[in-house]
């Protein structure tokens, strides 16, 4: 089923891949695209019933030595803190009372609350910084971060649209000026064709493989195809209007479509890639946040993100299994 292709042969590869998967397999929109140009057909979209992978709470004892053995950058002379230059560059604090930046999609009263990140599962959420700015994400394996597609790829240009891999820094459990679990770099970037070639918000998700195994220490989230409508929802990540702090907003999933979920949890720029999750004897991700309100109908009424469909589940599982 696997096809090797560079960008210039993308159309041919898509046609061939589409011909080798079931007709109902999303017309290739959820075929996986990696930053090396590899395209692979999504598999198993015919699955019925709920699919779930379990979370893992990580290590009971966290030491710099343990993190270092997982390949995490902790001995960088910073003493576990962002430098003043890093903090200023990444936090981009707006002037209090002088801006509306980042507040446009608070729906009614701002319900967000700050989370402190020393314990699981908060420490399994990550701050993602890269050449264009910053996003949020969540550990789903020892070396795998799930996030929005637009946090790793511009949404056009196929394999040429990935942001520079070398610019990525992933901070598990960042907490203001503190980075208690160091940071990791990106080994590879992954999204799906529906995002990479069409910026289709219905397929806006992806993953980052890390050059470390920090998940063994901080733990990771499970994810599930459980029917999301009516489920409790927590959207938790690193909003751009807060200085590198982790915040969350709790509500419930109000609506769903085939590929998206809709909710009134408050979000701002920088929250893209945050898990939409609920607690069922552990944290299970049921969506990946991506968008504020816009347009018409349900999109105008609710913030929204990618639903964990069967195809999405299989892709996340595949990325998690990569070395």
């Amino acid at each position: 089923m696997t096809k090797q292709s560079k960008f210039y042969s993308l159309p041919l590869a898509l046609i061939m891949a589409g011909a080798m998967v079931p007709l109902h397999a999303y017309s290739g929109q959820e075929d996986r695209l990696s930053d090396d140009g590899t395209i692979e057909a999504v598999a198993g979209t015919e699955a019925t019933g709920t699919q779930s992978l379990k979370p893992f709470s990580g290590s009971a004892a966290v030491t710099n030595e343990a993190l270092n053995s997982e390949g995490v950058s902790v001995y960088d002379g910073s003493g576990g803190k962002f430098t003043d230059e890093e903090f200023a560059r990444l936090s981009a604090l707006p002037v209090p009372g002088a801006t509306e930046a980042g507040t446009e999609i608070i729906l009614g009263k701002d319900t967000r609350e700050r989370t402190y990140t020393t314990t699981y599962p908060a420490r399994a959420k990550v701050l993602i910084t890269f050449s264009a700015g910053r996003c949020s994400g969540v550990m789903i394996g020892k070396n795998t971060v799930a996030t929005a597609g637009h946090c790793i790829h511009t949404g056009s240009g196929g394999s040429g649209g990935f942001y520079p891999k070398s610019s990525f820094r992933i901070y598990a459990g960042a907490d203001g000026a503190s980075k208690p679990f160091g940071f990791c770099t990106a080994k590879s970037l992954h999204t799906v064709v529906g995002w990479a070639n069409g910026a289709n918000e219905e397929f806006d998700y992806g993953a980052i493989k890390l050059n470390c195994t920090v998940g063994n220490t901080v733990g990771w989230y499970g994810f599930s195809t459980v029917k999301p409508k009516g489920k409790p929802s927590i959207v938790q990540g690193y909003p751009g209007d807060k200085p590198l702090q982790q915040w969350f907003s709790a509500d419930k999933v109000a609506q769903m479509t085939t590929n998206q979920i809709f909710y009134k949890n408050d979000t701002t720029g920088g929250m893209s890639g945050s898990p939409v999750w609920y607690d069922k004897k552990g944290p299970f991700m049921i969506g990946i946040h991506g968008y504020r309100t816009h347009g018409s109908s349900v999109h105008k009424k609710f913030n929204h993100g990618k639903r964990i469909t069967s195809a999405t589940f299989n892709n996340l599982k595949n990325w998690k299994s990569l070395p």
Partner: protein
Amino acid sequence: MLLARCLVYCLLVPGLMSVGCAQEGLEITVSNDVKNSEETMPGITQGLTGLVETGDGRPVTGAMIVPVPLGDDTPAIPEIAILTDAAGRYNWPLPPGTYEVSVSAEGYRTAKRRVEVGADKLVTLNVMLSSIHKE
């Protein structure tokens, strides 16, 4: 690859349009001039690009660029936090539409400007921020 991308830019953006404005705390130029295309990130052929500086020409690092779509049928805008780099530059891949763009950074007055992004157009939006601290 770079040459090919530049050729694409030239084909897609044959014209040149500039709009300048100045108001309190804000000086913006808007154009679809692609003379700086070699400095943009790979893959961005549509949206906003530009430079954020202080009044004396120093780049503003870490300024957050927030485009808010205007009108009824507004496109989906990702909730990514786009920040200026160490040189004060940013790139925002955006779908076609009309936006009110806010530029904010610690210690500076927030600037806002209305910008229209056309299909396959890379619009340059340069912004000058003024300090909240009067000299």
